[in-house]
Symmetry: C2
Subunit: 140 residues, 2 copies
Amino acid sequence: MQKQADRIVQTLKAKGLRVTPQRFAVYTNLLMRHDHPTAEQILSDLNQDAPTSSQATVYLSLQTLRDAGLVREVLLEQGVCRYDAKVEPHHHFRCKCCGEIEDIAWEAFDQLGLRQVRSGLKIDSYEVIVTGMCDRCNTP
Amino acid sequence: MQKQADRIVQTLKAKGLRVTPQRFAVYTNLLMRHDHPTAEQILSDLNQDAPTSSQATVYLSLQTLRDAGLVREVLLEQGVCRYDAKVEPHHHFRCKCCGEIEDIAWEAFDQLGLRQVRSGLKIDSYEVIVTGMCDRCNTP
DNA sequence: CTTTGTGCAAACGATTTGCAGGATG
DNA sequence: CATCCTGCAAATCGTTTGCACAAAG
């Protein structure tokens, strides 16, 4: 998987970011995951075996990656900031029972008549947050 | 406006909540506003003239009101929890330039084909968050 | 009178900052 | 070699908690 690492390095460089081991590790970790981890979860995951990054660096790296548009913040619960390296437009579902978060395909809402929401607003992006019960919690 | 105060008292009682001056003040303040204040903003607003509620009480009152379904949390920015006493379903727009938050009518998204988002998910509610530039920031 | 809410101050968890040394381009 | 990043520890911010007293039903 040398190719993949190279691609990640190129992505970072393309955004004008220096490629440091810590920043690379944070971004790679987030790209490999399928969940929506908090900064804390990324930190402990990275340092599981050997120490990789300090707390401050993980927080700063995430800020940097967010500002570069490589990573998205996902705010679903009060006081909990999650991160997502999947930048293709998509939405989120949160099970209010187990707390699990699932992606929802963008096309599900493609028919949204966003243009005419309100005249005067220049719309950049939108996100739908769905709450309910996942199939696991739903079938006892 | 005695009528209005009575209506608020009745609303609280109907939810089985004790009506204390502090709780009443928090809820009334939120009902009268058109913005989406943080707990901190409500606190300082209430205590502007005379001391009305302590910090802890405002936080607890907001929790209680949220649990009773009288108030909604609005999460648009990392680390900022806003509150909204308008419980009729509606969505939010946030100007990324001035940070202002506007309500968006529910009907704008009424045509959402939510039922068939994904089989297995039992959907409770959803919310659309729109980001962009408001008309004020857009016209220089 | 029993239960629940309040105020205060201390505790807390997540995130940010200042600063000195180190690595990157 | 100038700039930017990292690590550490301390600081900060928003929110929560423990406890004694007060108020609501």
